[in-house]
């Protein structure tokens, strides 16, 4: 397989802006790096000149520092708007609900079923070998139609509200192609939201060292066209 030195093709709605910011940053900092190295080499090789004088410091140091301040401010400002759009607000109430559960060394994905509500869970009921890796409590009505899968299936073009949990240690939930990454912590639930835009199969990786099987804690996300996804959901049974 051929290596691409750049990011895998983006497949999420917010990814285009993120990629633009990344490209801008890489271009600016690569150019600054080349410029600084060139100044370093030129400074050494050029014929010796007079001592740099104190009164030139404004021109030599403070003006460039002011320029760098403006540059960093502009980059931070731009990227801040991206971050705010990604994380400041919650998901749309109509967004699709799905839960990702990390455990050593697998991901499970729970869908809320027809009632669009997750049933309560209990760690004491977790039993992956018996088909209940999420620890769904059978006493809770809302959980009766919840179903759990080992691959994540999502519709293209619809916002996803992803609940993240972990059962044992910290795991890192990452889908490079969808430009999302968020740690899953035991004892806490985090929400991230995003909109997959292009159908396809993308990798889910664990990005927080979680034990000896960390390197093989992977899964797949299948982004389906909306109609296909609806068919898929209808076919699922708890």
């Amino acid at each position: 397989m051929q290596f691409h030195w750049h990011m895998p093709a983006n497949a999420a709605l917010h990814g285009a802006a993120l990629d633009g910011q990344m490209r801008l940053n890489l271009a600016i900092f690569a150019a600054l790096c080349v410029l600084a190295q060139a100044l370093l080499v030129a400074g050494i090789l050029l014929r010796r000149g007079p001592q740099p004088l104190g009164h030139k410091r404004w021109r030599l140091e403070y003006v460039p520092i002011a320029a760098f301040t403006a540059l960093f401010f502009a980059l931070a400002w731009h990227s801040e708007r991206l971050w705010a759009a990604m994380r400041y607000g919650g998901a749309d109430p109509a967004a699709m609900q799905v839960e990702a559960i990390g455990m050593q060394f697998a991901w499970y994905f729970r869908y809320p079923g027809k009632d669009a509500a997750f049933g309560s869970t209990n760690l004491r009921l977790v039993a992956p070998g018996e088909g209940n890796p999420a620890g769904i409590d059978p006493a809770d009505e809302r959980g009766r139609d919840d179903f759990v899968r080992s691959a994540l299936v999502l519709p293209a073009g619809r916002e996803v509200d992803l609940r993240l949990r972990a059962l044992d240690v910290i795991h890192g939930f990452s889908i490079p192609a969808l430009r999302i990454k968020q740690n899953a912590l035991p004892g806490q639930v985090f929400h991230i939201h995003f909109t997959p835009s292009i159908p396809g199969e993308y990798s889910i990786l664990c990005t927080q060292v979680c034990g000896l099987g960390h390197y093989r804690m992977q899964a797949v996300v299948r982004v389906l066209p909306a109609a296909e996804f609806d068919t898929w959901v209808r076919e699922q049974r708890p």
């Binding site: 050029l46 004491r124 806490q188």
Partner: protein, 594 residues
């Protein structure tokens, strides 16, 4: 200045000038210098093991099925154990020990015009505790389960629950004990350095005249006291979670390997992340600030240039220190912080890029049209600048939470911090050894071997760590024991980095092999190197002054080639610099009024 003092001053200048062309220095190892050598020995030992482990890691990543002599085929947990041990050894026992404790003990009192440390007993205890901490850490190789596998940042609950993986039982306890001892040792050592800087300056050594090395050791020591005390508290809390049933860092219920574990109360792993990185980020400045100070002094010395903006350099050192305490959250953008905190830490992290930028600009200004003396300490200083620029410029990218939400825990981060913390800081260490070697041993390191070593190292350092930025951009995560043989699209993504990974591994092996040149150079030159002249590099700082009289500091360091130099004074120094440029050491008295 009246006539008498003027002539006395001229006489003393002349005697200094004679001293400059005199015979071999007879190194007199003072107590604190022996301690400094002890620290450097510890660091060298840890560096050897840490580098060897990194080679094992590199080979395992590209050839996971390879059977190595004595080790056999390595398991994934072995890989993670090496990761943990490599990180812990390098961060604590190399990058904290050598630039701060090692070099400061070697020359800090002399740079202040003093002969002793303020608290010699505390200083000695700190050295022995550091050695003890290293032994305790290395003992983890030999206990059942081996070394812990959670990396040097030891995130809970992995680090709390012994069932969570091999090495998380006894090995983890030894890790905790070792670092707790190390915290105490570093704090003691840092307290001694702070008191020494405040109390042991010779007459005339005002704060503004202190070399930038001293300034950086001072700020670094203050950071050490603040950061390591927080780490010590966190380590004690982690110990309580492991053995006393408390729940600082674990929730009330966890499900590990099929069993539920319950605790009274419920904590959060996020608390550990806050405490750890509140220590961890100042720690990286503890590793790099001494290098920055030394490099600035070396650029001035070998370019025979005044360090313009000296106050600005002192100020940026302080700014980096203070802001360094406010940026820990950028390690946690995707850890589960409130997104507003992400913004706050983005701002503080972007802000800390400015004093670093100011330092780089200053270095470029000092060097501009300087035609410096390209002796080995200067080569390492220039290498430091080059690598620091390359690695440092990736910092503002990672400071943006939106971009970090893609790059976090990829090899981009590994490349970033290895360029700065590993390579630039290591270049600072090599610069320091080359620069102070004649002072300590009375002999010069071989310039020829030194040049080979430098160019070899800088070439393979770039070849090893720069490609990591690229594999990271392609999405390759950290801490993966194996890249081949994984299923599905995820396996394909990880596998696609293998060609570049092989290049990195080959470069890393060559990078490490090249260090034998340095070992050979140090051993050979120490025994029968070319005898050094006093003030071998025509430095201005006081550690190069004749140490047999009481010293008085007369001026700021790096007073080279002032245009206002009187002609007769120029003549006194003419034979000390090939180009005939005059220079004024801090200890010599200027014949004309100051």
């Amino acid at each position: 200045m009246n006539r008498e003092t003027q002539s006395a001053a001229t006489a003393s200048t002349l005697s200094d000038a004679r001293h400059l062309v005199g015979t071999v220095v007879r190194p007199r190892w003072r107590e604190h210098q022996r301690i400094g050598l002890g620290y450097l020995g510890i660091a060298l030992f840890a560096l050897g093991i840490g580098a060897f482990l990194s080679l094992l890691m590199r080979v395992h990543r590209v050839l996971p099925a390879l059977s190595l002599p004595f080790l056999g085929v390595s398991r994934p947990e072995d890989y993670l154990a090496w990761v943990t041990m490599h990180g812990t050894l390098m961060v604590f026992f190399v990058l904290t020990v050598a630039p701060l404790s090692g070099f400061a003990n070697l020359v800090l009192p002399e740079q202040l015009g003093s002969r002793t440390m303020a608290l010699p007993l505390v200083n000695k205890v700190a050295l022995w505790l550091t050695a003890l901490a290293l032994l305790v850490l290395l003992a983890a190789f030999f206990v059942p389960g081996g070394i812990p596998i959670g990396g040097w940042s030891a995130y809970p609950p992995l680090s709390v629950l012994p069932d969570a993986g091999p090495g998380q039982a006894t090995g983890m306890d030894l890790w905790l004990l070792s670092l707790a001892i190390f915290c105490i040792a570093s704090t003691l050592g840092a307290v001694n350095l702070v008191v020494t800087v405040i109390r042991c300056r010779c007459a005339g050594m005002t704060y503004e005249r202190m070399p930038l090395t001293v300034w950086s050791w001072l700020v670094t020591s203050l950071l050490t006291v603040l950061a390591f005390s927080v780490l010590l508290a966190a380590l004690v809390m982690l110990f309580c979670d492991r053995h006393l049933g408390t729940a600082f860092f674990v929730p009330s219920l966890t499900w590990v390997s099929g069993a539920v574990q319950q605790r009274v109360g419920g904590g959060s792993p996020l608390l550990w992340l806050h405490l750890f990185w509140f220590f961890g980020h100042p720690e990286v400045y503890i590793a790099i600030l001494p290098g920055m100070g030394l490099v600035t002094m070396l650029l001035g010395t070998f370019a025979r240039r005044r360090i313009i903006g000296y106050r600005l350099m002192i100020g940026t050192t302080w700014l980096i220190g203070v802001l360094g305490l406010l940026v820990w959250g950028h390690h946690m953008f995707v850890a589960g912080l409130n997104p507003f905190a992400g913004t706050a830490f983005e701002v503080s992290t972007m802000a800390i890029a400015l004093p670093s930028t100011a330092k780089v600009l200053n270095w470029l200004v000092i060097l501009w049209r300087s035609r410096p003396k390209m002796q080995t300490p200067m080569l390492w200083a220039l290498g430091f600048v080059s690598i620091f620029v390359t690695g440092g410029l990736t910092g503002p990218i990672l400071a943006q939470p939106a971009l970090d939400s893609y790059l976090h825990n990829t090899f981009f981060v590994v490349g970033h911090f290895h360029l700065i913390m590993a390579m630039a800081a290591l270049f600072g260490i090599f610069a320091g050894v080359a620069y102070w070697f004649p002072l300590m041993t009375g002999r010069m390191l071989s310039e020829r071997l030194g040049r080979w070593h430098f160019w070899w190292t800088v070439f393979f350092a770039y070849n090893t760590f720069f490609p990591m930025l690229l594999t990271g951009l392609s999405g390759e995560p950290r801490h993966y024991a194996q890249l081949d043989g994984l299923a599905g699209v995820a396996g394909a993504l990880v596998r696609s980095t293998l060609p570049l990974e092989r290049h990195i591994t080959a470069s890393a092996i060559l990078l490490a092999t090249g260090q034998l040149l340095w070992v050979a150079n140090v051993i050979r030159s120490w025994r029968r190197g070319q005898p050094a002249t006093p003030n071998s590099w025509l430095s201005t700082t006081m550690e190069w002054a004749p140490q047999d009289t009481d010293l008085i500091c007369h001026r700021a360091p790096c007073e080279y080639g002032l245009p206002s130099q009187p002609a007769d004074h120029r003549a006194v120094f003419a034979d000390t610099d090939e180009s005939g440029a005059p220079f004024l050491p801090q200890w010599a008295t200027e014949p004309t009024a100051e």
